[in-house]
Symmetry: none
Amino acid sequence: MRRQEILAAAIKVFGKKGFAATSVDDVASAAKIAKGTLYLYFDSKEEIYAAAVQMAVAQLQKLAAERIRSVSGVRERLSISIAVRTEFWQDKQSLYRLLLTVGRETQHKRQTHEVMRAGHAYFLSILKEGEAAGELEPRDLDAIAWAILDMIRGCNERRMDHLTARTPQQDAARITAFALQQLGLSDERPDTR
Amino acid sequence: MRRQEILAAAIKVFGKKGFAATSVDDVASAAKIAKGTLYLYFDSKEEIYAAAVQMAVAQLQKLAAERIRSVSGVRERLSISIAVRTEFWQDKQSLYRLLLTVGRETQHKRQTHEVMRAGHAYFLSILKEGEAAGELEPRDLDAIAWAILDMIRGCNERRMDHLTARTPQQDAARITAFALQQLGLSDERPDTR
Amino acid sequence: MRRQEILAAAIKVFGKKGFAATSVDDVASAAKIAKGTLYLYFDSKEEIYAAAVQMAVAQLQKLAAERIRSVSGVRERLSISIAVRTEFWQDKQSLYRLLLTVGRETQHKRQTHEVMRAGHAYFLSILKEGEAAGELEPRDLDAIAWAILDMIRGCNERRMDHLTARTPQQDAARITAFALQQLGLSDERPDTR
Amino acid sequence: MRRQEILAAAIKVFGKKGFAATSVDDVASAAKIAKGTLYLYFDSKEEIYAAAVQMAVAQLQKLAAERIRSVSGVRERLSISIAVRTEFWQDKQSLYRLLLTVGRETQHKRQTHEVMRAGHAYFLSILKEGEAAGELEPRDLDAIAWAILDMIRGCNERRMDHLTARTPQQDAARITAFALQQLGLSDERPDTR
DNA sequence: TATGAATGAGTTTTCATTCAT
DNA sequence: AATGAATGAAAACTCATTCAT
């Protein structure tokens, strides 16, 4: 559909420059359509942005869901889920940047909340399943889920900004080890430098 | 001094709406001066923003330095430093919001890097001192320092956005426990719910 | 074309008030378009001005070239060329005023130089052809060409400012007589009052 | 007097950048006084400009009057008067530039008229004296006086803008020869290249 | 008399949105 | 559906003028 193509272009340009610094013209020319045409599909710049974010989130969730389907057990599922969230972006920097920019401007707060809540719910569900299955002792799973998300975000941002030399794989391993240790599941030294 | 008053107002409005969504007029009327007066003290909107961020960072660092002066030992110093960074903001939300918005727009990347690097260097120095003093086994201190920062940021953001019911004290305790466990220093169950 | 209409309006207002005293709003409303529309055709006020000057010069040169085509001989060609430059403006006062203002503001010096140099080169070429054809004795043709231009400019300015009662035809005749006398070509008394 | 010092500074800066491009701040700092102090001596920027122009004109006229006092006869007086008007400026470029800028902006038209009319009246009086004394045949003295002024102005402008390699003395000689020839007083070849 | 901080109207420029074609 | 020219409100910034000290 046409909407999809526009959104793909929007993700690219919003991701590169952020919401405020991206003009509707930028989006239109990235999508190779006339500026006026945009307004046939969307009511405002805001709406384009919102839809682009939603699309980006959906893409991530779809991939995460696919990759997790084949594995079971808290350990494995955590490991895969974290890896997805660090590796996924390697060739999708603009998509990730888009998500990063979300919510830094008051107007988009609600969107961020959705994104973050979704991520948190996802990890929490994994941990709770583990708890239910007796794999985990009851702990502060809520806080651990947030900690995982926070670390993933930090590592990804640093990589985007070239502030780190670590690979996504190294980051994922580090975060996974960290999480397992918190859950009392680590059987090895967590130093996965 | 006049510059200081202007910056205090700037922190308030930039923190509330972010850089792009805040107009120079907004800053001026928050400072209760005419728009032109701003330009007697600063050359551009960009410069106001930069100075505001710098001032915010300086305030935080000053407080952190004061509170840490009296304590020694990795454990104590970590605990205090994390607490400062979570509690400090309670009555300074706009200041914190300002720091959060930093760097989300491409143009201010360099500033964020400074802010983050400063925080990281700070925690790393605490950890390294501990290592040197023989209190810690050699570990991936760099990654742990980042993890601490990431968690602090996450908790603070959630509190700002009313997405959590936890108090700063609870968050600080949780993060400290996490960190100590990573460092192999926890002698108790880390569940500081 | 739209650009042309805008330039026509620009010539009118710039000619009336000069570059600095004319606002972009003035140009826009003279052209009966919105201010923003101007920026679809030009990048800046400076550019509008530059284009307006160029257009004015081009118009003059085109007319001069047309009128001179049919005549030959230094005497005739001088006479026609001077006449063109004095009569041309009768119904194009704003165009002329524009040319007059050019270069009075430091920033536009280069443009004036072009305009003046073109005029000088033009008259010099006529004189040199005459010299080559043996119609003229070798003299300080360069200085004479400048003198012609200076006198034309002076007469035109005085007429613009209503400081003279003379007609363009009278001025042209006077200047031509002056020039011919300088060139040693006058066979009559130069008093063409 | 204080006014005089301010005007001297004003001549300098207005001459360098023109009326519009010169700020009141520029004038104040050139005069080494505070901006507010200017308004104790002048009511507006316009008034400063007007006074500066008037002062420049007065200086020129005073010098011209001094130098002409000792000579008599049309020939000599013309020669001296033209020389004064070309040589005078060598060390007073900003003063001259100021006079050049005058009247290019509608608001200052009246001033230009004064300046030009004064110059014209001056030369006309020389010519008329010559006519009265029987040194000259009746001719179009009015037009000749204007032509002299026009040529002087042209030569001076070109020198200011470095468009000519001629010295003021060469220009003065050329213009004088030109004038004498027009008046039927030239006994030599006018080629004073 | 002298100052210079403060003002705010005015300037150029941008850009999301509309609408005739 | 599609275009892109046109709009005009709003933005950042300037500067002649004022006024409390």
